[in-house]
Amino acid sequence: VSRDVVFARFRQLPQLSQREFAGEVLVLNPDCDDVEHLQGTAVHVWKMLETPRTLPDLVMVLSQQYAAHEADIGEDVEALLDDLIARDLVEEVVDVDV
């Protein structure tokens, strides 16, 4: 994990419309046409991203929740984060203090 990723903080885009039910989340970015469907671990990550979080934060919380080693899940969480960013659901918080 590069230094940029370690310190960068991520959050949900503010303009999203979303619905949560039965442990799943549907999200629509009004600038796109597709509704994204999140389930399982993705929902946990998604809910954590309601407030800005770094990747190590996410990995640490998930490793505690799922009783897994951070090293085992780190790559998966990073891939998920990349995917959410690629789908225009998550953005990096630009914060001059960091």
């Binding site: 885009l13 503010p14 303009q15 999203l16 419309s17 979303q18 619905r19 949560e20 039910f21 039965a22 799943e24 549907l26 999200v27 629509l28 009004p30 509704v35 469907h37």
Partner: protein, 732 residues
């Protein structure tokens, strides 16, 4: 977001029986609002489809999913998966509606037009604890009357076309409620100027309402919505006046908002009084509380307990009773419009609307005559309704007598006579209705052995008749089974009582066959194929009844039948020379009322025959056949097929299907010229009698249905082959 009141107090363990698809839906609609009613019966495979249909049509999937998650509603994993699939679909749609809101909101803001978001998106995102509980499918926006034209222009610039044009320039601002605007992809926006059509919409002051707004965050953007008090007015008017019967989700909105802490009840009472909304608010609160079995907040008691003015009650009735389909709303609107000049303008706009409006309202055919027929039909049906209500007085007395007693006790008592089922326990009346002499209550039983039941009483019954109905029903059931007509059944009679006379029956979910035929359209080949099968089964059923009840030659009865035929021939002015020799007449026990309206087609494809005859009468088998075919003619005449050129062909097909079914079991071959001729003779007589009766009773529409259906009947009779040829055929 405000919190949902009392989210933990409502619990029920499992779904009840079919009946309770209705009850279950109501309880789902009330989920989280603090009722303590519990369910005990399990959901079975045949009950689930009914419930899921209701959940979908009433948009209750979000609440149902939440109820399952909380453990209040127990269904199988497969059923939950089906439920979630519907919920996903509805939520995807809701998210797209919100996307449209961003787009159109931006355009309205740029045009500096203030607007508020009404109903779905506003309620879901501000008044429900979870927006997923409140699906919505369209977008309702409200603007002030001053901004109405500007907002319409913005929508037009954004690619939305008004679905129905204004009846006349200026109508919208003076008398209109809203206009639907549709995009090319079919998405619709309802642009409102006031909350509701008709008198209540005219009485309330939309400008004052628009002064009471709050902010709602939808996605990442802020919009204006009506504040909780004004939203409660909106929800109540929508629930009470929007649809008949009210949508469960609309009733849920009423209770959801009524439980908000931010409702200003003093202001609501003031508006209720000043805007004459008392009757509508009371109706909405009472209906919501009753249907969802949820108590109202104490603050609502003052409104529910207040006495509404006569004008309000009359206005409400124009929405909530059958007057709605008889022009009740325009008439009530006319009364609510102040000033003679304005009333005259309203009438003129509606009677002589612009051509464009006329064209849009009548599917492309612009005809003033067609439009003027509408109020004439309203007037005629209103008059016929009055006649009917006088005739049903005896039935109503009996209805009241039973209504005064505890229905639950009656059901329990009656069901004790049934060997296999018990209906002990609580019962809820789902609906009740009356016809000329009979009254019906459809009730859900919370017992495990009975689902939904019907209690029927009939003022025409003498004291011992309920027992006879019971026995006749059992006999009919075994007779059909004996003759191998397995596709036709009889609703079980579960019990009866003599005083007051009533029977308890199994409730059959399905469509009345008469209604099914009426819904047929010329291009609906699937339905026609299904109808051909159904009518053939009806033929088999009647054939079986006649085969079983066939009467051996009785000289007296045959002579009476011949005299009857000769009498008809004279009345219909058919020459004696064309008569067949009436030597092979077949007599059987008659069903009497063997007609489409006494059949129910269940969704599973089974037919149920109801109302068995109480008295044993013997007549020509052709009479029963003619009775059935006459009703087929009338129902088809009332359908879209009846107004098309396809009537003769379709009727011929149905007739042929019936004959085919009948001759499989029945005692006579209806296709022989003599039998076909006799059937036609009785059909002609029956159709003409029905037309005359319709005219006499001023049921002109019904008379027209029969008249339309009798085309070609006399023609068939008079064109029968000469008796010489027929005699030859028969003698062979």
């Amino acid at each position: 977001m405000t919190s949902s009141p009392g989210t933990s107090s409502k619990r029920w363990s499992t779904l009840t029986s079919d009946g309770s698809a209705v009850l279950a839906a109501r309880r789902i609609a009330g989920f989280g609002l603090g009722s303590s009613k519990s369910f005990t019966a399990p959901a079975t495979d045949d009950q689930w489809p009914q419930l899921v249909r209701r959940i979908r049509s009433q948009k209750l999937c979000g609440l149902a999913a939440a109820a399952v998650e909380s453990g209040s509603l127990q269904i199988t994993n497969e059923q939950f998966a089906e439920l979630l699939e519907i919920q996903r679909w509805m939520m995807v749609h809701a998210l797209h509606v919100e996307k449209k809101l961003y787009e159109i909101g931006r355009a309205l803001n740029e045009a500096r037009i203030d607007f508020v978001v009404l109903k779905g998106p506003a309620f879901a995102n501000s008044l429900y604890s979870n927006p997923a509980w409140r699906p919505f499918s369209d977008l309702d926006l409200m603007v002030s009357t001053a901004n109405w034209r500007g907002a319409c222009s913005v929508l037009a610039a954004e690619g939305y076309t008004r679905v129905i044009p204004e009846p006349h320039k200026g109508f919208d601002e003076r008398f209109g409620k809203a206009a639907a605007h549709r995009a090319e992809n079919g998405f619709e926006i309802d642009l409102h100027r006031t909350l509701v059509l008709g008198p209540f919409g005219l009485w309330l002051d939309p400008n004052e309402l628009l002064e009471h707004t709050a902010s709602v965050r939808i996605g990442g953007r802020q919009f204006r919505r009506l504040d909780d008090t004004a939203s409660l007015i909106n929800a109540c008017l929508h629930a009470a006046l929007g649809a008949r019967p009210p949508f469960l989700l609309a009733l849920r909105d009423v209770l959801q908002i009524a439980n908000s802490e931010d409702v200003d009840w003093a202001l609501l009472a003031d508006w209720s009084k000043r805007w004459r909304l008392g009757a509508a608010l009371r109706y909405a609160f009472e209906t919501a509380s009753q249907q969802l079995e949820v108590e109202l907040p104490r603050e609502a008691f003052a409104i529910v307990g207040s006495k509404a003015r006569r004008t309000e009650v009359r206005a409400l009735e124009s929405y909530t009773t059958e007057r709605r389909s008889r022009g009740g709303m325009p008439l009530a609107t006319l009364k609510a419009i102040p000033g003679l000049r304005a009333k005259a303008t309203y009438v003129a706009y509606l009677v002589i609307p612009d051509k464009e409006f006329l064209k849009a309202r009548s599917s492309g055919k612009s005809s003033y005559l067609g439009r003027w027929k509408v109020p004439v039909n309203w007037a005629l049906t209103r008059r016929a309704g009055r006649t009917r209500s006088i005739r049903s007085e005896a039935g109503r007395e009996l209805h009241n007598e039973i209504g005064r007693r505890e229905l639950s006790d009656m059901i329990t008592r009656m069901s004790r006579g049934s060997s296999s089922d018990s209906a002990e326990g609580a019962h809820s009346v789902i609906e009740n209705w009356t016809n000329r002499s009979a009254s019906f209550w459809r009730c859900a039983c919370e017992s495990t052995s009975l689902g939904e039941v019907i209690v029927k009483t009939d003022s025409a019954w003498a004291r011992p008749d309920p027992r006879i109905v019971h026995n006749r029903t059992l006999r009919l059931e075994s007779l059909l089974a004996e003759q191998g007509v397995m596709e036709v059944g009889v609703p079980r009679v579960l019990g009866w009582q003599s005083d007051p006379p009533a029977i308890l029956m199994e409730h059959i979910t399905g469509t009345n066959l008469s209604k099914l035929v009426r819904s047929a359209a010329p291009d609906d080949t699937d339905l026609m194929d299904r109808l051909l099968q159904i009518i053939s089964s009806c033929g088999r059923a009647l054939g079986a009844l006649h085969r079983h009840g066939q009467v051996e030659d009785s000289a007296e009865m045959l002579a009476a039948a011949r005299m009857d035929i000769h009498r008809l021939v004279r009345r219909l002015m058919i020459s004696r020379g064309k008569l067949y020799p009436l030597e092979t007449l077949t007599l059987a026990e008659s069903y009497g009322d063997f007609a489409l309206y006494n059949f129910i087609a269940s969704p599973e494809g089974r037919l149920y025959l109801i109302d068995p005859p109480l008295q044993r009468t013997v007549s020509l088998v052709h009479k029963d056949v003619a009775q059935f075919l006459t009703e087929v003619r009338a129902s088809l005449g009332a359908s879209a097929i009846g107004r098309s050129n396809d009537m003769d062909r379709r009727l011929g097909q149905l007739r042929e299907a019936f004959f085919e079914g009948y001759i499989q079991i029945g005692p006579v071959d209806l296709r022989t010229p003599e039998n076909a001729w006799l059937v036609t003779l009785y059909e002609t007589h029956r159709v003409l009698a029905k037309v005359a009766k319709g005219i006499r009773r001023r049921k002109y529409r019904r008379a027209m249905d029969y008249a339309r259906a009798c085309q070609g009947l006399r023609l068939t009779l008079t064109r029968m082959p000469t008796s010489g040829n027929a005699r030859t055929e028969l003698s062979q």
